[in-house]
Amino acid sequence: MTAEPIALDEVKLVSMEKQQRRNLIIQYILMVLLAAFFLFPLVFMFIAALKEDSSVLSDSDGIGAFIPTPWVGLDNFTSAADRASLWRVFFNSVIISSFIVGLGLIVNSLFGYALARLRFRGRRFLVAMIVALIIIPFEALAVPLLYITAELGWLDTYHVQILPFVANPLFIYLFYTFFLNVPVSLEEAARVDGAGPVRTFMSVVAPLARPAYATMAILGFLFSWGQFLWPVMVTRGVGVRPLPLGIGVFKTTPPVQWGDIMAYAALMTLPLLIIFLIFQRYFIQGVASSGVKG
C-alpha cells in the first residue's frame, strides 16, 4: 500500500482518464452544435408549415421561428393543395419515381447479370461501354433529348419523364460488380438440376442479390424524387408535373403565403425522410457503394 510507484501510476492514469473524458465532452458539444446546424432548417420548415402565414415571416428573426403559434393545424396543407394542386403533383411524383425505380430494377439487373455471367459475343465491349457511359451527365443530353422527345410529341406526358431514366449505366455497373462477386457454385448447382438461365436467375440469383436491389431502389428513388431540370423543360401544366416544380406556383402568383409554401416543402420532404429514417443503414451503405467505383 505504501509503494510509491503505484500511486504515481494511478495519478497518471486518472489524469489521462480525465483528459479523455474532457475530449469526449468537447466532441459531444461539437456534434450537438453540428446537428443543430443540419437540423434547424428542417425543424423550421415543419414548424412554419403548422402556423399562421403572416407570422411565419415576422417570426423568422428569432427563437419565435421555432414556436408553432398561432397554431393553424393542417390549414396550410389544405390551402397549398388548393393553390398548387398539391395532391395532384404528389401523385405525379409517386407515379414517375415508382416507374423509374420499378422498371429500372428489372432492366438494369438483367443486363448486369448478363454482363457478369453469360458468355456471348460483344460482352467485353459492352462492359467498357457501360463504364464510359457513366461519365456522361444527364445535363449534357438534356437539349438534344428535348429535341427528340418534342419531335415524337412526348412533351407533357408521364413517359417523357420516366423512360430516359430507366436504364442507368451506374446501376448496371453496380449490379455487374455485385454479380461478379457472387460465387458461381450456387448457379451451377441449379443448372445441373436442369434449370435454364431464366429459372436460375429468378429463383437463385435474384433472391441472393437483395442487397444490390435495395441499393439501387434507394439511390434511384433519391435521384428521381428531386428531379428538377428535366421536368422544367418538358412539362407545362400541373397535369403531369412532379412535386419540386409546383413550388414555382407560389412565386408567380401573389400573395406570398409562406405557411403554404412551407407546408408544400414539408410534404415534398417527408416521404424520403421517412423512408430514410427507416432504412438509414441501407441508405448509408448504398451511398458508400456508389463511391467505390472510382
Partner: protein, 315 residues
C-alpha cells in the same frame, strides 16, 4: 437432356455438343436479358449524345418551319464570345474554388467525428446525412426564407458580429452566390461524409497502432496514415463535388427573384443551357453549350483517373 446423359456414355463428342448447345442458349438468353437496357441506353443516352455534336453545328430550333442548315462553328464562336456564358462559367468556377475545399474538409471532419466508436455516433451520422435526402427544391425555399434580410441567418449574424454584418443576401450581387454555396454545402456535405467514412474504415487499424508505438502524435497520424489511406476516396469526393458544382441549377432557378439574379450574379452554365436550349428554343446553340459542358466533365474525370491510377502503381 437428363435422359441422354443417363443412357449413353458421356463421350467427348456429345459433351462438346452439349456444351455448344449450352453456349448457344446462353447467348440467346444473354441478348434477351440485355436488349431492354440496350434499347433504352441507345435511345436515351447514346443517340442524344451523338445528336448533341451534330446539332451543335446546325441552326436547329425546337419548333420551326425553316429547314435546318449547317452553320459550322457559329454556335461555338457565338457561345464563347457571349458575356453571359462567361459570366455563368466564372460563377461556376468561383463556386468550385470555394465549395470544393470547404466542403471536402468539412466532410472529412464530420467523417472523423462519427468514425470514433462512441455511443450515439449512428444518431449523429443520421442527422448529418438528413439534408441529403431533402429535395433541393424544398431546401432552396427554406433557405430563401432564412436568408431574408430580416431572417434567421441575419439574426444570428447580427448577434455574432454586433450588427456589423447583415447583408440582404439574395438581393445583393456580392452575397447571393455565397448564400447558394452555403445551401449547397448544407445539402451535400453528408453525401461526401459517407463516402469518406467508408474510406476511413478501410484504413487498417494496425497502421495507427504502429504509428502510436513509434510515438507519432495525433496530427502526425492524420497526415501520415489517414490522408494517404483515404487518398482515393478524397480524389473521388473532390472530382464529384467539382462536377456537381458545374451542374448547379436548382438553387439559382428557385432562390433569386429572377433565375440567375440579381443582375446575373448567380447565373450558371446550366441556367445558360436551359435558357438557350429550352427558353429561347435555340436547340443548336444549346447543344453547343452541352458539348462544352461535357468536355469540362470529361477533362475532370480523366484528371481523376490519372491520379487514382498513379496511386495504384505505387502500391
Amino acid at each position: 437432356m437428363t435422359a441422354v446423359r443417363s443412357t449413353s456414355e458421356p463421350d467427348k463428342r456429345s459433351l462438346k455438343r452439349w456444351r455448344s448447345k449450352e453456349k448457344r442458349s446462353d447467348s440467346k438468353v444473354a441478348w434477351a436479358f440485355s436488349t431492354p437496357a440496350l434499347v433504352l441506353l441507345g435511345a436515351f443516352i447514346i443517340l442524344p449524345f451523338l445528336l448533341a455534336f451534330y446539332l451543335s453545328f446546325t441552326n436547329q430550333r425546337l419548333i420551326s418551319p425553316l429547314p435546318t442548315r449547317f452553320v459550322g462553328l457559329d454556335n461555338y464562336t457565338e457561345t464563347l464570345t457571349s458575356g453571359s456564358f462567361w459570366k455563368g462559367f466564372f460563377n461556376n468556377v468561383w463556386f468550385v474554388v470555394i465549395v470544393v475545399p470547404v466542403q471536402t474538409a468539412f466532410a472529412l471532419w464530420l467523417a472523423i467525428l462519427v468514425n470514433r466508436r462512441i455511443p450515439g455516433r449512428v444518431f449523429f451520422r443520421t442527422v448529418f446525412f438528413m439534408p441529403v435526402v431533402t429535395v433541393m427544391a424544398a431546401a432552396a425555399v427554406i433557405w430563401t426564407l432564412l436568408f431574408n434580410a430580416n431572417g434567421l441567418v441575419n439574426a444570428v449574424m447580427e448577434t455574432v458580429t454586433f450588427g456589423a454584418f447583415s447583408p440582404d443576401w439574395l438581393n445583393s450581387t456580392t452575397w447571393a452566390l455565397p448564400a447558394m454555396m452555403i445551401v449547397g454545402i448544407w445539402q451535400g456535405v453528408g453525401f461526401q461524409m459517407v463516402i469518406l467514412l467508408a474510406a476511413l474504415q478501410d484504413v487498417p487499424e494496425v497502421l495507427y497502432e504502429a504509428a502510436a508505438i513509434d510515438g507519432a502524435s495525433r496530427w502526425d497520424q492524420f497526415v501520415n496514415v489517414t490522408l494517404p489511406g483515404i487518398r482515393n476516396g478524397l480524389i473521388f469526393v473532390i472530382t464529384v463535388t467539382t462536377i456537381l458544382a458545374f451542374r448547379l441549377f436548382d438553387q439559382v432557378w428557385i432562390m433569386p427573384r429572377v433565375p440567375g439574379g440579381p443582375l446575373d450574379s448567380t447565373r450558371t452554365m446550366m441556367l445558360e443551357l436551359v435558357e438557350t436550349g429550352f427558353g429561347a428554343q435555340a436547340i443548336g446553340k444549346g447543344a453547343a453549350i452541352a458539348v462544352i459542358f461535357f468536355v469540362i466533365v470529361l477533362a475532370l474525370t480523366l484528371i481523376q483517373r490519372r491520379f487514382i491510377r498513379e496511386e495504384g502503381e505505387v502500391t
